[in-house]
């Protein structure tokens, strides 16, 4: 097994161009499990956990860039303004896992249960890919995450990070698991309100082959808030029945399967409950702010 230890991103990309079989190794929290159990024997590894270019974030022209190498712990300590992302990061594994695991690794693994992924989907994030010579390629999240554990990453590329337009409005991430900590989601949901565009955006995890959005539920919720006058006046009441109907429509967007962690029926039910709660929390947050 060849081990590459580049010091800069440029060096790493040159190695990737020369040795495309080299598997990037970030936090190792997914990859080392496979290696320890002999389920993966890559011909080469490319250590990227120390590359400074991947461990950054920045704001430019109303857009936010999150480096692929940021760990969940770093997000928790530094990015409080993105509450759904912080909530998702806090729900990952344990302190030991959060100190190593990265959003880039979550994208690379592309598990339908990856906790950062519904958040990126609800933010409408673009995934930024980079190859030798600094060539970048930007893909909307749904064109990057193309199936269970499948991405459209090319052999000579690395994930540089994710980028999205910063919006105004409340949001949350919530997750159902078989216990309180250290669990893979049975169902997860991220809801974000965009006050300026008057949009409600909802993404679901663990209930389909990859992360899903719920466009009908989104349009319905935006319409309900409009009809109630709630976009203009956060204190305007939104009928309880509309919240229920929103939950139904969120559940209808799920494409769950039965597995060891839960039945499809339970997962659908969980989406209904998570959806209704997330919208009512967001409405309550708006009222509090005013």
């Amino acid at each position: 097994m060849r081990i590459h230890l580049p010091r800069t991103l440029d060096e790493a990309l040159e190695i990737k161009a020369r040795d495309p079989e080299a598997v990037p190794l970030a936090g190792g929290t997914d990859l080392m499990v496979l290696l320890n159990f002999g389920r993966l024997r890559p011909p080469a590894l490319l250590e990227i956990s120390r590359l400074p270019e991947l461990r950054t974030w920045r704001r430019e022209n109303g857009r936010f860039f999150l480096g692929a190498g940021l760990t969940y712990s770093r997000i928790l300590s530094s990015l409080a303004e993105f509450r759904p992302l912080v909530q998702a990061s806090r729900s990952v594994g344990s302190p030991q896992i959060r100190n190593r695991g990265t959003v880039g690794g979550n994208l690379g693994t592309a598990s339908p249960a990856g906790d950062a992924l519904p958040v990126l989907a609800a933010y409408d994030a673009e995934i930024v890919l980079v190859s030798a010579g600094g060539r970048t390629r930007r893909l909307p999240w749904h064109r990057f995450l193309v199936g269970p554990k499948q991405t459209s990453l090319a052999p000579d590329e690395l994930i540089l990070g994710a980028q999205w337009t910063v919006t105004r409005g409340p949001g949350s991430f919530s997750k159902v698991g078989t216990r309180n900590a250290m669990v893979i989601a049975v169902a997860s949901l991220c809801l974000v309100l965009d006050e300026d565009r008057r949009q409600v955006r909802v993404a679901l995890g663990s209930v389909g082959p990859t992360v899903l959005r719920a466009p009908e539920a989104e349009a319905f919720a935006a319409g309900v808030l409009g009809a109630a006058g709630a976009w203009d006046d956060p204190r305007a009441p939104v009928p309880e029945a509309a919240l229920e109907e929103f939950g139904e429509r969120v559940a209808a967007a799920a494409r769950p399967i039965d597995d060891v962690r839960g039945t499809a029926a339970y997962r659908r039910h969980a989406c209904r409950v998570l959806g209704r709660r997330a919208l009512s929390w967001a409405l309550a947050d708006r009222r509090l702010e005013h």
Partner: protein, 155 residues
């Protein structure tokens, strides 16, 4: 693959298989067997060590990822015959039974108390969520953390 790293304050070298984890390097090459190998999948926390000051599962760190970096293990905690207050507290509270999970838990508790000297119970539970114990039922472990916090606060 030759890896050079600073372990408990001392630079060491080890020649390991290129697929080896930091845990393997510590135990098999350096003879530091305090960190335990139980699951090798990040689930049990019994291999917890610090890598450049951060609490990690040594089984999930590739040995090469520790090259030219600093590792601190459970072996660094006792000063000669004098135990670390967290180690004392575990003994006094009866938080040790078979002892397999204990080194990992001690490291995780020291990490917690270095960041938060007076943690409440929810904070303790969250901090120890990555450490499994088959024997104690956790109540005495939580008692031990509270006792250790008192010991460390005492002048």
């Amino acid at each position: 693959m030759l890896v050079r790293l600073k372990v408990n304050g001392e630079w060491r070298e080890a020649d390991v298989w290129p697929g080896a984890s930091l845990l393997f390097l510590l135990r098999e090459s350096l003879g530091l067997v305090g960190s335990k190998n139980a699951c090798e999948q990040g689930e049990c926390g019994s291999c917890s060590v610090w890598l450049d000051g951060e609490l990690v599962c040594a089984c999930l760190v590739h040995a090469a990822q520790a090259h030219e970096r600093e590792v601190r293990t459970v072996e660094a905690l006792a000063q000669g015959p004098r135990l670390h207050p967290v180690q004392e507290a575990f003994l006094e509270a009866g938080a040790v039974q078979c002892g397999f999970c204990t080194p990992g838990l001690i490291v995780a508790v020291v990490d917690l108390l270095e960041r938060d000297p007076t943690p409440g119970e929810p904070t303790i539970r969250e901090a120890l969520a990555g450490n499994l114990c088959r024997c104690t039922g956790y109540a005495k472990i939580i008692d031990a953390v509270k006792l250790a916090a008192q010991k460390m606060a005492a002048p």
